[in-house]
Amino acid sequence: MKKLSVRSRLSTQLSLPSTSDIAFLLLIFFLATTIFDLEQGIYMVLPGQQSQSVRVRRDNITIVKAYADGSITIDDKAIAVSQIRTIIQGRLARNDKTVVVIETHPDADYGLMVDILDELRLAEARTISLKTMLGNGVP
C-alpha cells in the first residue's frame, strides 16, 4: 500500500528569542574591545623666538646631565634615576628658586630625558630647562 506523502510547511517566521543572545554577544565584544583613547603626556612650554634670555644666579642652578651610555649626573656626581626626586626635593626645600637644567647628550636615548623630566615633575620642580650637550659633556 502506498503511503500518502505529507507536505511539510516552511515557516516564514524569524526566531526572535535568539536576537537578544546575539545582541549580548555583540555587546560583550564591543565592551571588551572599546578603548577610550586618551592623549597623555608631559606638558611643557618652550621659549619662543621672541623670548628674552634670563640671567640666573649660579647658586640657583642644578644641572642634571644625561649621557649617551645611560648614566646620569647631578652637578657632576653620578646618580641613579630613582635618586633624582629625593635630591631635587632637598635642593628645592633649601632654595625654592632652584632652576633645574636637563643637559642631554645628542646620542642619549630620548626615553632617558623623559625619565629625568618625570622625576623632576614628581619632585615638583617648576622651572626646568632643556639643553643639548655640546661635545662629550665631560667638564
Binding site: F30, E39, Q40, M44, Q49, P106, Y110, L122
Partner: protein, 145 residues
C-alpha cells in the same frame, strides 16, 4: 461588606526588558567605537607617572621612530620642513600643542632638532607623549604571560 484582599508581592526580576537594554548599549558602543588605523611611525613610547591628559582638538602629532625618521600627519618630513608645516597649522589652531610621539630609544639629537624648528615656528606648547606607568606595567605583565 467586602473582604479585604491580600496582595502577594512578586519576587521576580523582569527579564523581558534585558534584551532592550542590551540593544541600547550595543547601539551606543557601535556608534562610539572607532577602529583606529595605525598612523605615523611605529614607536615604543616612554613611561611617565606625571603624564597629564591633553586636549585632543589642539594636538598635532610628531612621530619619531627609533632610527630618527620624522613624520607629521602621516607624512615623513625632513627636519628643515617642520617649521613651515607647523606654521600653517598654527595659523588655524593658535593654541596648538605639538605632541612628541617619539620612540624611547630614538636619539635625543633628533628631538632637539625638532624642538629648534618648533621654536622657529613659535609653536612653544609641547607635550612629550608617554604611557601611564600603571598601563605600561599591565601591558608588560600581559606580554610576560
Amino acid at each position: 461588606m467586602a473582604f479585604g484582599q491580600t496582595q502577594k508581592a512578586t519576587s521576580q526580576i523582569p527579564v523581558a526588558s534585558m534584551a532592550d537594554i542590551a540593544f541600547l548599549l550595543l547601539i551606543f558602543f557601535i556608534s562610539t567605537t572607532i577602529f583606529r588605523m595605525e598612523e605615523g611611525l611605529p614607536v615604543a613610547l616612554p613611561r611617565a607617572e606625571t603624564a597629564q591628559r591633553q586636549e585632543r582638538e589642539l594636538i598635532m602629532h610628531v612621530w619619531i621612530d627609533k632610527q630618527g625618521h620624522i613624520a607629521i600627519n602621516d607624512r615623513v618630513v625632513a627636519v628643515e620642513d617642520i617649521s613651515g608645516v607647523v606654521m600653517k597649522v598654527l595659523q588655524e589652531k593658535p593654541g596648538l600643542i605639538v605632541a612628541f610621539n617619539a620612540d624611547e630609544r630614538c636619539p635625543y639629537s633628533v628631538v632637539s632638532d625638532v624642538m629648534e624648528e618648533l621654536k622657529k615656528a613659535n609653536a612653544v606648547r609641547v607635550s612629550f607623549t608617554s604611557e601611564p606607568e600603571a598601563a605600561a606595567n599591565a601591558a608588560a605583565d600581559a606580554n610576560a604571560e
